[in-house]
């Protein structure tokens, strides 16, 4: 299933993230795709809020993985600096993916064939200065229900 959402400000992007976050469970994996400046970290901030975390979410580009502990922990991974799947493979990322929290992977294209089949793909596109398009896609029945919920009562879906 594939759902497309447009947002017109960073606040809206964050709000979509927050609503998505409320529907997530431990073990969920979100693969984020999109260029520099597409809003991946902003979106992740929203998800942290939706999970009820008082987390200070900022870009993990240099530090690679940020762990935010809470009722449902959030593992915020950023593979921007990695060049190949071989490098990702040895990072020990499985411990997060098959762990006890929600794992969000920015620049997930760096590990495409290593991603678990049960996941939610989200592609973010930079349309205008603050306008973004988000494409949600998943084969998981539960995550399908979560993203359907996202558009069914969203007044900012288009």
């Amino acid at each position: 299933m594939r759902i497309v959402v447009r947002t017109y400000s960073a606040d809206e992007t964050m709000e979509i993230g927050e609503r998505l976050g409320r529907g997530l469970q431990a073990g969920d994996v979100l693969a984020l795709f999109g260029d520099l400046g597409a809003g991946k970290t902003t979106f992740t901030k929203g998800i942290a809020r939706g999970l009820g975390l008082e987390a200070d979410v900022h870009s993990p580009t240099f530090t690679l993985i940020h762990e935010h502990l809470g009722t449902i922990p959030l593992y915020h991974v950023d593979l921007y600096r990695l060049a190949s799947e071989e490098e990702v493979d040895t990072l020990g990322i499985d411990e997060y993916i098959y762990g006890d929290g929600v794992t969000i992977i920015e620049w997930a294209d760096r590990m495409k064939s290593l991603l678990p089949p049960e996941r939610l793909d989200i592609e973010l596109k930079l349309i205008g200065e603050t306008e973004r398009e988000m494409v949600f896609e998943t084969d998981s029945p539960r995550l399908q229900a979560v993203i359907e919920e996202l558009v069914s009562n969203a007044d900012i879906s288009h």
């Binding site: 520099l36 400046g37 900022h58 870009s59 690679l64 993985i65 940020h66 762990e67 990695l82 060049a83």
Partner: protein, 334 residues
């Protein structure tokens, strides 16, 4: 008192011997920059594997250069938080093993605390309270210190760190990794007013935000209008970062009534930032201290310097010392 310091939290394997928290007897950094250049960034597992290979030779070299052996070392300091867990544990395991074998006190240091204490290695005249500007690839923080080991976070970045903005914008401008030093070099020849890039203000908050600037650079580079020469672009971008860092740092300094500002972290080595900070400090009668570039980037001397003062406060750790991927400065972790 001689302290052996160890740092492996990111891409540098480093060991150092420091006397009395101020005197550098050795500071060995097994720079991995050549390896990383090929990949366009830090490569974590390569880094972790290299830490394993490099840690003992690096420690040995640090001891040799300091004309020391473990017998005349008085304590072992190690950075155990925050960082990439697979990298941190290499340094922590080495530190614990040596502390156990030689029966020496073990002192755990926060990475940011280490960066700040690099200032004590070069400046004998630091008077509390101070405001510290910590800027690197992973951090953009303003920290108030009322005394040794007493930290209050005044501001953080809400999105990208300053160093990350430098490296990502450099890539968009077509410069190779690491982009920060290249922008600094180009900016010296450029006109900082050629292009106006945005400066993010977070209302009354002292927090930083650099992702809007990054997006503005991307959109500008993708735009169809004719671009000025690269030095002008670099200078205009750098000015946008510098303006915000200087503004917020001195706002914090004045709000807290401090007479001294300390710079730390890799971006503190940026010459444009250093001269702007010093100029503003002079105007306001606030002293500005910055370590030389080699002590701004990740190194073990800073860990040993911070550990000297931590040891004086009686802060030592047991052999069950753990590593932590994420933890704010000021919280004890042992």
């Amino acid at each position: 008192m001689k302290i052996l310091g160890i740092e492996t939290s990111c891409d540098e394997t480093s060991a150092a011997v420091i006397e009395d928290g101020r005197n550098i007897l050795s500071n060995v950094i097994a720079s991995q920059t050549d390896v990383h250049k090929r990949f366009g960034g830090v490569v974590p597992e390569v880094a972790s594997r290299m830490h394993v290979e490099l840690i003992m030779p690096t420690i040995q070299e640090a001891l040799d250069k300091a004309e020391s052996t473990l017998e005349n070392i008085d304590a072992i300091a190690v950075i155990n938080r925050p960082g990439l867990i697979g990298a941190l544990i290499v340094g922590v395991a080495a530190a614990k093993t040596m502390a156990f074998a030689a029966n020496l006190p073990l002192i755990a240091i926060h990475h940011i605390e280490g960066h700040i204490y690099a200032n004590w290695l070069v400046n004998p005249d630091i008077q509390f309270p101070v405001v510290c500007l910590v800027v690197s690839g992973g951090h953009s923080d303003l920290i108030y210190m009322s005394g040794h080991g007493k930290y209050e976070i005044l501001a953080r970045t809400r999105d990208d760190a300053a160093g990350e903005a430098f490296d990502k914008s450099a890539r968009v401008m077509g410069l190779s990794y690491p982009g920060g030093p290249q922008i600094d070099k180009l900016a010296k020849e450029g006109n900082p007013h050629a292009v106006h890039f945005p400066r993010a203000k977070m209302g009354d908050s002292l927090d930083f935000s650099f992702s809007g600037l990054k997006t503005a650079v991307i959109r500008y580079m993708e735009g169809i209008e004719a671009k000025p020469p690269l030095p002008d672009l670099a200078a205009s971008f750098q000015q946008a970062v510098v303006d915000v860092l200087v503004e917020n740092t001195f706002r914090a300094a004045q709000e807290r009534g401090v007479k001294q500002v300390l710079m730390a972290g890799g971006v503190a080595a940026n010459s444009g930032l250093q001269s702007a900070m010093k100029a503003r400090g002079q105007e306001l009668g606030i002293a500005v201290s910055a370590p030389p570039p080699i002590l701004c980037t990740d190194n073990a001397a800073m860990a040993a310097a911070a550990a000297y003062f931590a040891y004086e406060r009686g802060e030592t750790s047991g052999l069950d010392l753990d590593s932590f991927a994420s933890e704010p400065i000021g919280k004890r972790a042992s």
